[in-house]
Amino acid sequence: MRVRSKWKLVRILFTTVWLYGGWLLYTGSFETVSLCLGALASLLVATATYNLFIAEHEAARKGLLVRIHYGILYLLYLLAQMYLSSFAVLINILRGNINPRVVHFRTRLHSDLARVLLATSITLTPGTIALELQEDHLIVHWLDAKTRHSKYAGILIKGKMETLLSRVLL
């Protein structure tokens, strides 16, 4: 019971810190009243919503912190990938020559957050939409399929995203 309440406190504290950061950024003032009000409001919101932000069973994970430098690298890689595949989709639209397929493949990632992030990234890259994510099994709609082999399709679609994600989240 004590471990549970301790973990609850940590979760509330973590949510509060994140919310307070948002408050500081969006108010942009450092007056005493604003700071106190922000702390109070974020604590209030955190006590109500900590369960949504950090689920109780996430305690098994090594850390709640992401590795920031890998996170930035991942975002930049995602951005570059987005622009590259945007131009590919542009050419497909102009030529009117598409070869859509639904491919299935698996992912090596373990935590829920990492899997969801992978599926989101796949949807964010133009040309692929994640249709379904069950455990480690992904179903993806591919606009211009180059292969039907499931493992090779996984390698082509995921690219370096999977390895980078496994480094971002500890």
Binding site: S86, V89, S121, T123, T125
Partner: protein, 109 residues
């Protein structure tokens, strides 16, 4: 210099948005139309955000736009995924390009 890059990104945004709309009209089935609309428009909006961030320089506005961009990074693909997942669970069969060989296999009448 920075002005030029800002204009380049705005131009890219316009092109991507236009092509996304053309794609909606040209493509044959819900999935491919979703590909054209959601994903190309996402790139367009991100281009606008990048242009705004470059224009604002290093200031508080850039931080706010960055947070909005991160939120958009999460919300936009989730919306597209929900539509696609609903279509998939409804049992809508994705359109597939017929190959010439498979056309020849069809019985003639």
């Amino acid at each position: 210099m920075i002005e030029g890059i800002v204009y380049l990104f705005l131009l890219l945004a316009a092109i991507f948005n236009l092509m996304g709309l053309v794609g909606i009209l040209l493509f044959p089935d819900p999935y491919t139309r979703l590909q054209a609309s959601s994903t190309c428009s996402t790139t367009a909006v991100i281009s606008v955000f990048i242009a705004v961030m470059l224009e604002a320089g290093f200031s508080a506005i850039t931080g706010k736009v960055l947070v909005i961009t991160l939120f958009f990074f999460i919300s936009s693909p989730v919306g597209a995924h929900i539509i696609a997942r609903y279509a998939w669970n409804m049992g809508i069969v994705p359109w597939r390009k017929l190959r010439k060989s498979s056309l020849e296999d069809l019985p003639h009448d």
